[in-house]
Symmetry: C2
Subunit: 498 residues, 2 copies
């Protein structure tokens, strides 16, 4: 299969592997571990000080940790709520230095889990950059240690993604920052504005809002959360507004810079009225999206360009059409930039190498989605709008958590009384299969697992109605909504139990 | 079917129903609602001021609410833990009066949900006591309003249960109390001792321990939690001990009384050594179990005794063999005294009346179980010990939550580092079906719902491995443990990922 002539001469090769994984985020980690566990000689190269990629080091994990901290801080400030529950509590004070130190310890701990697991499975880990010198050869450069070439039968490219720049807004990581920087700030800017109302923008908005910033989201579209079910998206916006976040919709940022007073002037264009205005803030975060990160890998050396990683990929085997032994996974590929997708692709890539049709391939189509605000927003499967467009006959059951017994025993759920936490189950009228589940509640990410089981395994509503759920639990509302969906008529009747 | 001669004369009858439900806890409520929704003329009688039964008024709900409050109070006292997360917090003070007021509001709110739902479904609700005057006739006595007789084609008996008395220990609801009283106390006794290490005893032990009592559990058996998987029971005991609860095992209470100093003297017998000693405390709670509550119903009037409700019941239709139109459900029947069971039986009872084989019948055999301490203890399906006794070949996968990403982003999970939170999945080696799931973690009651879906729907391990779980979520550990179970050899090898 391989052509020796393409390669460096044997004397240049420092090591030979079955599989070399470039990048050690969740996707790369999964690929390396699974390859090694299957007996393949495996190495992994990553240029960061800590393993785990954007996900672990400056993305999802810091974001979720700070969200948890910030909602705890927010809760403690709601003296009335706390005192009602029998705790008399003096006012708390925030110490962002301590919060950041704790966060760093947390990341280190998780990164160490990656390291230990790789080591346990005999994966060689190189800290350094990687670039192609031939289709089967990669030069690894380690800072201060020089460089060398390794050869591999298969190369998994899991190099991740980078922030997309916003025209007219130069990120200086001082006052105009990326999400990476925002998540490592050890002070709270009085006015924090965010370009982009996607998941990353919204979660970081919640963090700073809870910690006391006045937060503004600037979004060029007419609504946030475009991929959500309309009812859920509407509830999400109302929720975040009720917590103090301001939304400027249909608004484009034309430029941003520091004025004489040292504050930021951000020129905004309203897309509808065509008016411009100057918005003032102390920090501006750009989060209009991320793009595949292939720089530095020198793919042109082997005759590839970025398009080959988008258009020319065999999704069955996660292989480049031009070089089937090169397997891109995760954020460098098309589709949502989620750790879950990266892990699934990693499994598929390794299984294609092993030529196995193993059990772990998750190709159930729907990724469950969570926005980790409080209460959380979670959804999996089809939205009502998708079902209506597709002319799919469906039935709906919706339950408010305010009637759930467990919900009423939990302090942390109380604030959301303003925005009724709910769960909505969409059922196919033809076969009673569960097509979609949409919810707003504090524990959505765990309840969504049940919903994801139902949707991805093709369970039907009758199955769910048979399951004994723990009592009291929030999950009972999933069952109850499913029962209501069964009892309800055909779409678009919405059966609200209130 | 009915014999008019057995009944009162028509002139005595104040109202006639298809279904009369006696008792409005979760079972009675479910029966009444479902009967009415099916178009049956339905009435419900309950003697308490608030609907909801022991479950809502002085059992599970107050217990879970106070547990949540008490763990919040406990968390705030762990200054180091809180400050690590960036919150400088002066020491909190407990106000049990406020806590109890909040609890009462909570119960009222939930009770009102019951009331509204019954009213919405046109169920007539009588506040009063009920006693049989004939097989189809019940006399309802309303305080201050006199009594009258109603007739019904079917009578659902959902009268619940009462505390079992402990010989030698007279409950005075002052210093020697039942769980009902303990859950409504508006002060914290310095030394709080509990006879009985079952779920009720352990949960109330946690509440008072968190609020600052020195808590002792006196248990006549050699271990607590006899029905748990051994590994889980062991972890539970270690957990509660690490939080400060003292266990006196193999110990029987012979007598208890107030001494001259006004404190309680409790005489204990060690079953192994046969030694006796006197144990001092400020409050003693008796929770050695509950018994079916049939007093006042005057069942002897129609030729029944308590045995008829235990031994002579058709479980398919929830009917008394002697009078198939009388249907006992919930705590008055054999088996675990859980709201879940009562609700399932209620559904079965109403379905037998309607002669339908409806979708909602949950007869999946295994009830999920949760001990709502923190972290929670949850289990469903078979224990390892049961599988070994039955010579069932099984495989085990166990994962520590300390390696779970979501776990590491949550403040509330941190205290449990002492006792490693884990999840253990038991899989049938012959067909890979999930036989049992046992776990210790803060969100066990919601994770258990997934496990209960798997066990009760007969899903196999391969199914679970296919499901995309939200990322990051605690539920991912369920999938991971299942993957390890698949990868592991046949029992009794235990594959611990650490």
């Amino acid at each position: 299969m391989r052509n020796e002539a393409d390669e460096n001469t044997m004397t240049d090769i420092a090591a030979v592997y079955d599989v070399l994984v470039v990048g050690c985020g969740p996707g790369g980690f999964t690929a390396a571990t699974q390859a090694a566990q299957a007996g393949l000689r495996t190495a992994c190269v990553d240029q960061r000080a800590s393993l785990g990629g954007t996900y672990l080091v400056d993305g999802a994990v810091p974001s979720k940790t700070l969200l948890d901290e910030s909602y705890f801080y927010r809760l403690l400030q709601q003296q009335e709520l706390v005192e009602q529950r029998g705790v008399r509590l003096p006012y708390p004070r925030l110490d962002m230095q301590a919060a950041q130190s704790a966060l760093k310890r947390n990341i280190e701990r998780l990164s160490k889990v990656y390291k230990c697991e790789l080591s346990k499975n005999n994966v060689t880990v190189y800290k350094g950059t990687a670039e192609f010198t031939g289709p089967y050869c990669v030069e690894i450069s380690q800072r201060g240690l020089g460089s060398f070439i390794v050869e591999a039968r298969y190369i998994v490219v899991a190099t991740g993604s980078a922030v997309i720049q916003c025209p007219g807004v130069a990120i200086d990581e001082d006052k105009i920052v990326s999400s990476d920087k925002a998540l490592s700030l050890n002070y709270i800017p009085p006015r924090f504005s965010i370009i982009g109302g996607g998941t990353i923008g919204l979660e970081i908005a919640c963090i700073f809002n809870n910690f006391g910033s006045r937060v503004t989201i600037i979004e060029s579209q007419s609504e946030i959360c475009q991929n959500m079910d309309d009812e859920l998206a509407c509830a999400t916006k109302t929720l975040l507004q009720s917590q103090g976040i301001v939304f400027l919709l249909n608004t484009r940022v034309q430029s941003a810079g520091t004025n004489a007073a040292g504050q930021l002037d951000v020129t905004l264009l309203n897309k509808l009225s065509k008016n411009t205005c100057v918005h003032h803030c102390d920090m501006l975060m750009v989060s209009i999206g991320r793009r595949p990160l292939l720089e530095g890998l020198n793919i042109s050396k082997i005759g590839l360009d970025e398009r080959d990683f988008v258009d020319n990929v065999d999704e069955q085997t996660q292989s480049l059409l031009k070089f089937p032994h090169i397997k891109p996974i995760g954020d460098v590929t098309l589709g949502p930039m989620l750790a879950l997708k990266a892990e699934q692709q990693a499994t598929r890539a390794i299984q294609s190498i092993l030529s196995t049709d193993s059990i772990s391939t998750s190709n159930c189509g729907f990724s469950p989605n969570v926005l980790y605000c409080q209460p959380q927003i979670g959804w999996v499967g089809y939205t009502e709008q998708q079902l209506i467009s597709a002319h799919t006959p469906y039935q709906t059951g919706k339950v408010l958590f305010s009637q759930n017994v467990r919900y009423n025993t939990l302090l942390s759920q109380k604030e959301s009384d303003l925005i009724p936490a709910f769960i909505k189950v969409l059922v196919d009228s033809r076969n009673m299969k569960i097509l979609g589940v949409h919810m707003i509640n504090d524990d959505a990410n765990e309840l969504l697992s049940q919903a994801s089981m139902a949707v991805s395994l093709g369970l039907n509503a009758y199955d769910i109605c048979k399951v004994p759920f723990p009592h009291p639990s929030l999950s009972e509302s999933f069952k109850q909504a499913t029962q209501l969906a069964v009892a309800s008529g055909i779409s678009p009747s919405v059966n609200v139990r209130e």
